[in-house]
Amino acid sequence: MSRFEKVLAGLTFRTATPSFEVGDEVPAFVTGQSESGLLVRVGDTVLVLPDADPALLDAKVTIKIESFDEGQHRGTARVVDVLQDGE
C-alpha cells in the first residue's frame, strides 16, 4: 500500500453493521462466547463460530464466512487460520 493510499484509506463513513459475503476470508479477533459457540463481533455485526476451539477466545484468526443474514447482521463462520494467540 503506497503512502498516498494509506492517507485515503478509511476516508468514508463506515457503517456500524458491516456485511460479509459467503466465502469471504477476513482477519478478526475472537471477541466473546455464547451457548452457540465463540463470537466474532465486528462493529455491531455478530458472527458465530459454532465449531471453534474455546481456547481461541481473544485470539486473532482468519475466518471464512459460511452464512450471513443482511437484515439481522448475523452470520456464521469457521476458523481457517490462527494469526495470533489470545493474550
Binding site: 494509506k6 492517507v7 463513513f13 463506515r14 479477533f29 471477541t31 462493529g43 486473532k60
Partner: protein
Amino acid sequence: MSDSSDASRTLSFYGGRAASAIPIAFFIVWAVFQSGLLGIGDTTGLIVGILVGLIVGMFFVKGPWKTYADVLFDGMTQRVAATAIVAWLWAGMFAETIQVGGFVDGLVWAADAVQVGSGLFPALTFLLAALLATGIGTGYGTAIAFTALVFPAGVAVGADPVLLFGAILSGAVFGDNLAPVSDTTIVSAVTQNADIGGVVASRLKYAIVAAVFAFAAYLAAGQTMQGTPVDVAGAGGAGTALGLVHLASIGVVIVTAIRGRHIVEAISWGIVLSVFLNLAFGLAEVSAMLAFEASQESALVQSIDALPLIGAFVVPVAPGDAAVAGSLYTGAAGFFPLIVLVLLIVAAAQVMQRGGGFEAIQEFLLERVATTVRRAETTMVLGTALVNAMITINTAAEIAIAPYIKTLGRRFNINGYRRANILDANTSALGYIFPWGGGLLAGYSAMQRLPEQYEWFTQAMVVNPASVWPFVFHGWFLVAVFLLAAWTGYGREYVSDRASEEVSRV
C-alpha cells in the same frame, strides 16, 4: 517506556478501588479551587495540593504504609516523566537564549513590515506553531518557545493575549497529534500494534478537518477580540530586524529533529548556534547568557573579572546580590516548580493504577456503557478525556489508558489505526485544555518571566491558565471531530478491512 519498578506491587484501600483515586481527585479539586475559582496561577501552590492529596490518600491504605511509599517511588522514576522534564529544560534554555538575542524585537519588526495586524496574528501564530511542533515533535517545547518568543511580539502589535495563548497551545496540539517523532504518536502506534507511518497517514483525515475549522475560528475571533497595541520602541524596546537571524537557530532544531536525531541533540544544536549568533552579531553579551554574579568586594572576583575570556562570565555585584544568572540559568530554572509537580502527579497516578482505580473504570465502561460500536468509540474518547484530567502529562495519560483502549476497541474489532487515532488525538488535545495540564502550565511558566524581561510587558498581560481553555480551538475541534466520527462512522476501519503493518516496519 519501561522502568525497573515492581509492577506486581498492589495497594488496597479502605473504601475499595475508587479510594485509590483520592490523591488525584484531591489535587483536581485543589487545582480548580486555586486556579479556576481564585484565579491564582501559582505552580508551587499546586505542588502543595498534590502533596497534601498524597498524605490524605495514605491514611486510606490497608496494610503497611511502606508499600504506598514504594509505589510513589515507582511512579516518580518512570521514564515518561523524565522525557517531559528534559523537553522543558532544553526548550526553556533555547527559547530564553534566542530571546536575549532580540528575536522578539525581530518578530515585531517583521509583523510591522509585512502588515500582519493584530486580527491576523493569532491565526498565523497557530499555523507557525503547528509547523514547528510537527517538525520537532514536542508540543511542550513549542508551547514554551512560542510563549517566550511569539507571544510578546503578538501582544505588542495588539493581539488579544488570551486568544494568542490559545493559538499557541492549539499549534502544540496539532504537532503532538501529527508529528511522527512525537512521543504521543509513537506510544499510540506501539500500544495499538500499528506501524507509525500508517498511523500518521491515517490521522490526516481528522487533523486537517479540525485544523481548517480552528484556523477559521482564529481568523474570526481575531477580528472581534483585540488587545491594545504597545509602542514597543517608545516603551524602551528596540524593534530591530537583526534578531531574525535566530530563524536559523530554530531551523537547525527542525532540520535535525526531522532527520531523526533525538530532541536533546536537536535542541542542543539550536542552543549552540543561538549562542554563536548572539556573540557574532553582537546581539547579546556573554553575561546575558551565563553570568556568575559575585561580590564586588572580593579581591579574587575582581581579578577573575579582569581576566580575558573567563572574565566575561563574571559580573561583580553588591555582596548581597550574589547569584548565577543568564538565559541558560533562567530558561531552565523557570521550570523547576513544574518538574516537581509532574513527578508528584505521576506518583499519584501510579497509586491509582496499583490500587485498581483505573481497572474499576475500565470494567464499568466495558460492561455498562460500551454496548454498541458507536457507544464504544464515544467511551474511548470520553475515557481518554477523563484520564487526561487526572494525569496531566499527556504521554503518561496515554500510557495509562492505552491498554483499555486496546481491550475496548478489540471487543468490536476496531482497527489498530483507528484505535491509535482516537487515543492520540484526544490525549494531545486535552493535555493542553485542562488548566492544570502540563503543556498549558509549561507555556504559562515561560509567560510568567516576560514582565521581568520587557519593561512594556505588564502583569495584566499574563494570561491566567484557567481562562485560556475555551480558546484552544484546535483541541476542541479535534475532540468534536472524534465524537462526530464515533457517531457517523467517519474514518472508521475494522480489523477485517485492513491489516495494520508490523510495528517493526516503522
